[in-house]
């Protein structure tokens, strides 16, 4: 396996993009990535997309997007692991370059969620259709089940959950591409409407349209692509776990996230404390807390205290979701895992502007599907 570099990044604005179609979202992000890479070569593409079928009635997404990007006949494959589809697409692209089969591969992610589909039902297909969804559970509901278990076991408070959203909005306000680029308060979170007790509207990531793309390349090609500091992918992992939340021994733990992280730390040869900037899958506030514990950033039950102490804020010891996270930036599900790598690349290139983590050299992106039955972790390294 050889080294793999991120040579180009692009993403659309995330939000309710009434005038932009599914295909154009992707093309816009991909074109931005080519412009960023300052090169045109492309050998292959992987597209993360959770549910083109349910959101816009479109399957066979790879061919459609390659066609509209004007890149036929290169091989293009749609990758699906629910909300981790983007992370899985990055991993497939990484493997193709690392294996030596291709020199330049694009990993894209796209979702068009606002075309009036039954979004709650479509997202729920990421859970066990026969034994969870059948009973009337929703995704906020599943994470609410985890939240109550976490609150019961570790006395995590409602306010601590709210602080995750407040922090991510604080970061998102500094990102021009976020769906909700404004600050919110704990009071606003606690006063927002109930979605699935104890989770309220402002604990939940929004329904979004958007696309993101990263171009991965071999060292040889990366060195020809001038203009940006080199960013290397030093770990790319994926883990799977039990599909139904209720089958897990400990409802407060995300074993797949833990597994994908441990393998990633080994691949990269680092320990969690060496990570300078992190993007995690904060689909709901409780998710960020559980993921922090699974990543080894905190002992079980201790992550919320770190959030409360401001350690995960920009300027803290472990800034998390400087992009605004899924909560503030938006969560076009298939695109989110790719957009995380976009943000890390910005940070490691030190192009983050007001939200730049000072001296950021190692970044970690964690993306998950369902209630964590799929998890991907990518660790990126910038220059010293």
């Amino acid at each position: 396996m050889r080294d793999v570099y991120v040579i180009g990044i692009g993403m659309t604005h995330f939000g309710e993009l009434w005038d932009t179609s599914f295909r154009d979202l992707f093309v816009e992000a991909a074109l931005e990535a080519f412009g960023d890479a300052n090169m045109d070569r492309l050998d292959s593409m992987y597209i993360g997309c959770m549910s083109g079928g349910l959101f816009v009635g479109q399957e066979h997404v790879g061919a459609l997007l390659a066609d509209y990007l004007g890149r036929v006949p290169i091989p293009t494959t749609r990758v699906e692991t629910a909300c981790a589809s983007g992370g899985a697409a990055v991993r497939q692209a990484y493997l193709e370059v690392a294996s030596g089969m291709s020199e330049v591969v694009l990993a894209g992610g796209v979702e068009k969620m606002t075309d009036s589909a039954d979004v709650t039902a479509a997202l729920a297909t990421a859970a066990d259709q026969e034994y969870e969804v059948y009973q009337g559970v929703t995704f906020p509901g599943l994470y609410a089940l985890m939240a109550r278990a976490h609150m019961h076991t570790y006395h995590t408070t409602r306010e601590q959950l709210a602080l995750v959203a407040v922090k991510n909005h604080h970061h998102g306000a500094m990102n021009s591409k976020t769906q909700f680029p404004f600050e919110i308060t704990v009071e606003q979170v606690l006063a927002s409407s109930m979605v699935a007790d104890p989770l309220r509207l402002l604990d939940c990531s929004p329904v979004s349209d958007g696309a993101a793309a990263v171009i991965l390349a071999s060292e040889e090609v990366a060195k020809q692509a001038k203009g940006h500091p080199l960013v290397r992918v030093v770990a790319s992992t994926q883990a799977t776990g039990a599909m139904a939340l209720h089958t897990r021994t400990d409802l407060t733990r995300l074993d797949t996230v833990e597994h994908s992280a441990q393998v990633a730390y080994q691949q990269a040869g680092i320990t969690p404390d060496q990570v300078d900037v992190t993007e995690v899958h904060d689909c709901f506030t409780i998710a960020e807390i559980c993921v922090m514990e699974a990543l080894g950033y905190a002992e079980p039950g201790r992550a919320a205290a770190l959030v409360e102490a401001g350690e995960t804020r920009l300027g803290g010891s472990m800034p998390i979701n400087t992009s605004g996270g899924l909560k503030s930036k938006g969560h076009p599900v298939g695109a989110s895992g790719v957009a995380q790598v976009v943000e890390l690349t910005i940070q490691l290139r030190r192009e983050g502007g007001t939200r730049q983590v000072e001296g950021a050299r190692i970044g970690l992106a964690q993306n998950m599907g369902g209630t964590g039955a799929s998890s991907t972790v990518h660790i990126l390294e910038g220059q010293a």
């Binding site: 709650t120 009973q135 929703t138 906020p140 007790d197 089958t247």
Partner: protein, 131 residues
């Protein structure tokens, strides 16, 4: 859900039919072709007891379309006596009556319909055990 998909799971939805691994004893609900604990493919059929306890719960305020008229409703993860866990609604009570470890019994209820004209889909829900 259409009839064929619904009908296939009737033994589980209606009468909690599970299976026990002959090698390691793990009880699986729903049945699987291969035991995730020991990889054995030998099982015996068991009917789960209808008694359990609540592990965690939520109240769904924003439901999928098929459940629109029922919201808000309670969803819980319940552990049955055999150690099997399942996700189901808890009905005929207020959320204020719930607690971790509260004993429940499984009852047979309507779960959902795709529309007024479509089949009625039945299954299990939990009610609080009352003295």
């Amino acid at each position: 859900m259409k009839s064929p998909q619904y009908t296939r799971e009737i033994p589980q939805r209606y009468r909690l039919e599970a299976e026990k691994c002959r090698q390691c004893g793990k009880v699986h609900f729903p049945p699987r072709l291969i035991c995730d604990a020991c990889q054995s493919q030998e099982f015996e059929q068991v009917i789960l007891s209808r008694a359990g306890r609540i592990l965690t719960w939520t109240v769904i305020h924003v439901p999928p379309t098929n459940f629109d008229l029922e919201a808000p409703y309670i969803i819980a993860i319940v552990e049955l006596e055999e150690g099997v866990r399942l996700t189901c609604q808890v009905v005929d009570c207020d959320p204020e009556e719930l607690a971790v470890d509260a004993p429940v019994e499984m009852v047979f209820r309507r779960i959902q319909e795709d529309s007024q004209a479509d089949i009625i889909q039945y299954g299990y829900k939990a009610v609080l055990s009352r003295p």
